[in-house]
């Protein structure tokens, strides 16, 4: 009992330590105290993307790392720092005498003036330059790439010196590599053909996993929501789709264009099969996006409870829940990376499978 009590006490005190950090890290657009607290706004600003990396708030001032803004305008490339916008996100401050930022979307200042409210969207390409900025998510992705490269190149180097059983880092990472090979690639793609797809499967597994985990760490160089961003998951799913389609063999296309049904049904079957080609990677995209975003939303909502109820009394309860959800999300981080890799392997396996019967 005493140990249980101690543990609970420890967890609570830990949650007190972490909570302010989380709250400040997530309140990207932290409003000054007089403004009404809005959980939706806080959550939206956290799970979305941003041109600057918010670090903390100090005396009502937002401290953030401005990231480079790269715009492809009508008159060529423009590169400047995000600090030019002076944290403005409402379309009032004109940076470089040409650009305004509204909800993290950069518009031409002159065109923005005349826009109606519903036209102020990221898809209004006429009113805005093409934006290739290094955003928070891109920054976080670069960081994850560097971490993974350093980790795995170190491991790869260690094999040159040590041909015996793996030690240290290699001993930790090698079972994961073997897990991807023996439990994902070989059962789904087959003993003969799996080798060609191993580098891709390993890359997406570790890439998605580490980005899921980075999203769970609640302070500065981390805390982005990259794998919960639908554009990111779109690219990942699209690459899987490309690999599946490009490596598809005769049997796969035969199954789509000449399914084992009476010929009269072909006009019905073709659209179904062709839509089926796209729904699989589409589900992949939505699954990762929705799972990770949902996890972030739950954690942030639990933290927001403190601010909604405006009392410290709720903090232990919400802290305990946040802790529980964070642990669960760590499991989900690995599970979603596994599921994404597993389904990619499954789709590739279907595309390269040799059918002896029809």
């Amino acid at each position: 009992m005493r140990i249980a009590n101690r543990t609970i006490q420890f967890l609570f005190s830990l949650s007190f330590l972490i909570l302010p950090l989380m709250a400040s890290a997530s309140g990207g657009h932290s409003e000054s105290a007089d403004k009404e607290f809005s959980a939706t706004e806080l959550i939206n600003s956290h799970i979305g993307d941003s041109h600057e990396f918010h670090i903390a708030d100090w005396n009502g001032h937002s401290i953030s790392l401005p990231l480079p803004i790269i715009l492809w305008t009508d008159n060529g490339l423009e590169i400047f720092s995000a600090s030019e916008f002076h944290h403005d996100n409402t379309g009032h401050h004109v940076a470089k005498e040409k650009f305004v930022r509204y909800n993290e979307v950069i518009f031409y200042a002159d065109k923005f003036e005349t826009l109606k409210e519903e036209d102020k969207s990221a898809f209004n390409f006429a009113a805005r330059p093409l934006d290739f900025s290094i955003t928070k998510n891109v920054f976080s992705m670069l960081m994850s790439v560097i971490i993974l490269l350093v980790l795995f190149i170190t491991v790869a180097r260690s094999y040159k010196k040590n041909s015996m059983a793996p030690k240290g880092l290699a001993g930790f990472l090698e079972p994961l590599v073997i897990f991807v090979r023996d439990d994902i690639a070989i059962p789904n793609i087959g003993e003969k053909k799996y080798g060609k797809y191993m580098p891709y499967l390993l890359t997406i597994f570790f890439f998605i996993w580490i980005n899921n985990l980075i999203g769970l760490i609640p302070f500065f160089p981390f805390s982005s929501n990259l794998t919960g961003n639908i554009y990111f998951t779109f690219v990942m799913a699209f690459i899987t789709f490309l690999i599946t389609t490009l490596s598809a063999n005769k049997a796969y296309w035969g199954h789509i264009f000449a399914p084992p049904v009476p010929k009269a049904l072909y006009p019905i079957m073709w659209p179904v099969e062709i839509i089926g080609m796209f729904t699989k990677p589409f589900a992949l995209m939505i699954r990762l996006f929705a799972n990770i975003t949902a996890g972030h939303i739950i954690i942030l909502s639990l933290i927001s409870l403190i601010y909604i109820f405006k009392t410290v009394a709720i903090a232990p309860v919400s802290g305990a829940f946040v802790l529980f959800m964070s642990v669960l999300e760590m499991l989900v981080a690995a599970l979603q990376a596994y599921v994404f890799t597993l389904l990619s392997a499954l789709f590739i396996g279907q595309a390269v499978e040799e059918h002896d019967h029809h």
Binding site: G48, T135, F152, A156, S163, L202, N229, V235
Partner: protein, 163 residues
């Protein structure tokens, strides 16, 4: 949700992922998968070699036993042969000795016979010459004295009987 412009993340994700994938494939996955595969192969080979060595050991053991049994059998055979040879040699020696002894006895007998014959012949010669001498003397005596002659003959005959 505050999304920035979609092209930003799509562009950078594609670029970074492709470069990342190529780098990882070249510098990480190839050496790691190669090393893992190499190690698995070497472990399999080692296990196979151990199995073979075990089999060979078993073979060697049975070979040794066979060899030992053969050696033992050979030894037994050799001892048996030696015993036989010994017995044969003894028997041979015995029979040879017998034969030789018989031959020696035979030759001794023959020598004795021949000696005896020679002695008999000599005796005959001597007897005849003695007879002749006696006759001679007798004749000479007779010619002078009859009595003396008879006496002499008798005496000589007595002598002859002794021979």
């Amino acid at each position: 949700m505050n999304f920035t412009s979609p092209e930003s993340l799509v562009f950078w994700t594609t670029l970074i992922f492709v470069v990342f994938f190529l780098l990882m494939r070249k510098f990480a996955w190839k050496p790691i998968l190669g090393a893992v595969k190499g190690r698995e192969d070497s472990i399999n080979n080692a296990l196979l070699a151990a199995e073979n060595a075990k089999k060979e050991m078993l073979n060697l053991k049975s070979d040794n036993e066979k060899l030992l049994a053969e050696a033992r059998a050979e030894r037994d055979l050799m001892m048996k042969e030696a015993r036989e040879i010994k017995e044969k040699m003894i028997a041979d020696a015995k029979s040879e000795a017998q034969v030789q002894g018989a031959a020696m006895i035979e030759s001794a007998k023959a020598t004795i016979e021949s000696e005896k014959n020679a002695a008999m012949a000599e005796l005959k010669n001597q007897v005849s010459s003695l007879s002749l001498e006696i006759a001679e003397t007798l004749l000479k005596e007779e010619l002078s004295n009859k009595e003396a002659q008879t006496k002499l003959v008798e005496k000589m005959l007595g002598d002859a009987k002794l021979n």
